[in-house]
């Protein structure tokens, strides 16, 4: 069995995304994990993620399902006494997973292509009411949805290429 090796390059990539947040200040008080919404259900332990990133042990995290268990309730950002913010670290790890072409939940990629296509992540739905009427925006006299200008697509793609 070989020991995991630190990957300082990936560690730097993550730190670069955390403008102003000092991960090294984390003293493992575990306030984040004790209040984590995803702890009980999915065993997310934010303090462990911070520790691994601090040690540079970041090769396995982007391909692990654990980074996709965060509910984004932001309690860890709020409660961290050291402003280390596990939430932002997890988001940086998700970005790294995309960069490394690791397996990521399909719904996220679908959101990107939907925005490209229509500007929104979903198409307007018809609602079936409790009395089984089928209603859409027109029936409800709601204004038409206005798609983005044509210029949007190209600039959106350009933004997606930035790291």
């Amino acid at each position: 069995m070989s020991m995991a090796k630190p990957n300082l390059e990936s560690r730097e990539k993550i730190l670069a995304k955390l403008s102003g947040r000092e991960l090294v200040n984390c003293f493992q008080c575990i306030k984040c994990t004790s209040g984590c919404t995803a702890l009980k259900l999915l065993e997310l332990k934010p303090h462990e993620i911070i520790k691994l990133v601090n040690l540079g042990l970041v090769d396995e995290l982007p391909s692990s399902d654990i980074i996709w268990t965060c509910v984004t309730c932001l309690k860890c950002v709020q409660r961290c006494p050291q402003k280390a913010s596990p939430y932002h670290v997890i988001m940086a790890l998700r970005n790294l997973a995309v960069e490394k072409e690791a397996k990521i939940p399909e719904a996220y990629l679908k959101a990107v292509s939907q925005i490209l296509e229509t500007g929104l992540i979903e198409t307007p739905q018809k609602i079936v009411t409790r009395k089984m009427e089928t209603l859409d925006r027109d029936c409800l006299k709601l204004p038409k949805i206005k798609p983005p200008k044509e210029s949007f697509q190209a600039v959106f793609m350009k933004a997606m290429e930035e790291k």
Binding site: K17, S19, G20, T37, A38, L41, L42, W68, T69, C70, V71, T72, C73, L74, V77, Q78, S85, M91, A92, N95, V98, I104, P105, A107, Y108, L109, A111, V112, I115, G119, L120, I121, E122, P124, Q125, I127, T129, R130, K131, E133, L135, R137, L140, L142, P143, I145, K146, P147, P148, K149, S151, F152, A154, V155, F156, K158, A159, M160, E162, K163
Partner: protein, 291 residues
């Protein structure tokens, strides 16, 4: 006051009751809504893929608001409100991000305006309109009604961004409920998350979170759960049955938007505020509204 309004995806594509109730209720409180030129994503779902683009999309919404010439922007969705607020903070604090985003915006002849104030439904009603004005405008106080409130996560955290209410003890939604004559209860699960963000990766866990909270609310024997976020409404109202199945409970909790409850107190026709669209047992609630 005239304010620009950005609806986001969730409201425009399915949570019509929130849009309808806001469009009905706000003009009666002297707030005029001006829609943006485009309906486009705020950036939230993109943050997991590329956080720079999320900031760009958030800043782009403010730039679209800038085209209206108004200084105020209402963002009724919690998730959009957070994404746009964080983009605003990054534009303010990171010259590097700000420079790159302004350059992208310029390609569409858009201009970012840091002075646009971003409101959510809750603080617009509580801080700008004010409880006194709401009390005076109410024609049918909802006396005898007892409800539980759910403010959601992203409009109260994290405080460094400047949020709508206190992160650990939010009171504004409760105050707003009291202003229309109803009563609220305090409960241990008040700050628990609806789970919606997990729908994309772990749908069963998402439903389990929603189900656990609904079960707790059901045990309070209140008349309704009151929310102010389309994602929370989606979980608690539209997905209530599935959530119940996931946690092994038979759930029957009427879930409404605060703006729908306010609409009832302003004596607006039920269909105009979309009460026919809620999927949960709101008839149970409606039967308790004083005639």
């Amino acid at each position: 006051m005239k304010t620009a309004v950005f609806w986001g995806c969730c409201i425009l594509t399915g949570q019509y009751a929130y849009e309808m109730s806001l469009r009905e209720v706000l003009p009666r409180l002297d707030i005029e809504l001006v829609d943006l030129r485009e309906s486009v994503c705020c950036g939230d779902p993109i943050r997991s893929v590329n956080d720079f683009t999320a900031n760009y999309l958030g800043a782009r919404i403010i730039s679209l608001a800038n085209l209206t010439g108004l200084d105020n922007l209402l963002v009724p969705c919690n998730r959009c409100h957070f994404t746009i607020s964080e983009a605003k903070s990054n534009m303010n604090n990171s010259p590097k991000i700000s420079r790159r985003i302004r350059a992208l915006l310029k390609e569409e002849s858009l201009e970012y305006n840091p002075n646009i104030k971003v409101w959510h439904t809750i603080d617009l009603l509580h801080d700008f309109v004010g409880l006194e004005k709401i009390k005076k405008t109410v024609v049918k106080p909802l006396k005898g009604l007892k409800v539980a409130t759910h403010v959601g996560c992203q409009i109260i955290r994290y405080s460094d961004l400047g949020r709508v209410d206190d992160a650990e003890n939010p009171r504004k939604l409760d105050d707003l409920v009291a202003a229309i004559g109803a009563e609220t209860v305090n409960y241990a699960e008040k700050l628990d998350c609806c789970g919606s963000a997990l729908l994309r990766s772990h749908p069963d866990s998402a439903l389990s979170l929603a189900g656990s909270k609904l079960k707790a609310v059901q045990n309070l024997t209140v008349d309704s759960l009151v929310v102010s976020c389309p994602d929370c409404q989606l979980m608690f109202d539209v997905r209530q049955k599935d959530a119940g199945t996931t946690v092994g409970a038979k759930l029957s909790v009427p879930v409404v938007y605060y703006t729908q409850l306010l609409g009832l107190a302003l004596n607006i026709d039920e269909r105009k505020i979309g009460l026919n669209l809620n999927q949960s047992s709101v008839d149970q609630l409606l039967s308790k509204i004083p005639a």
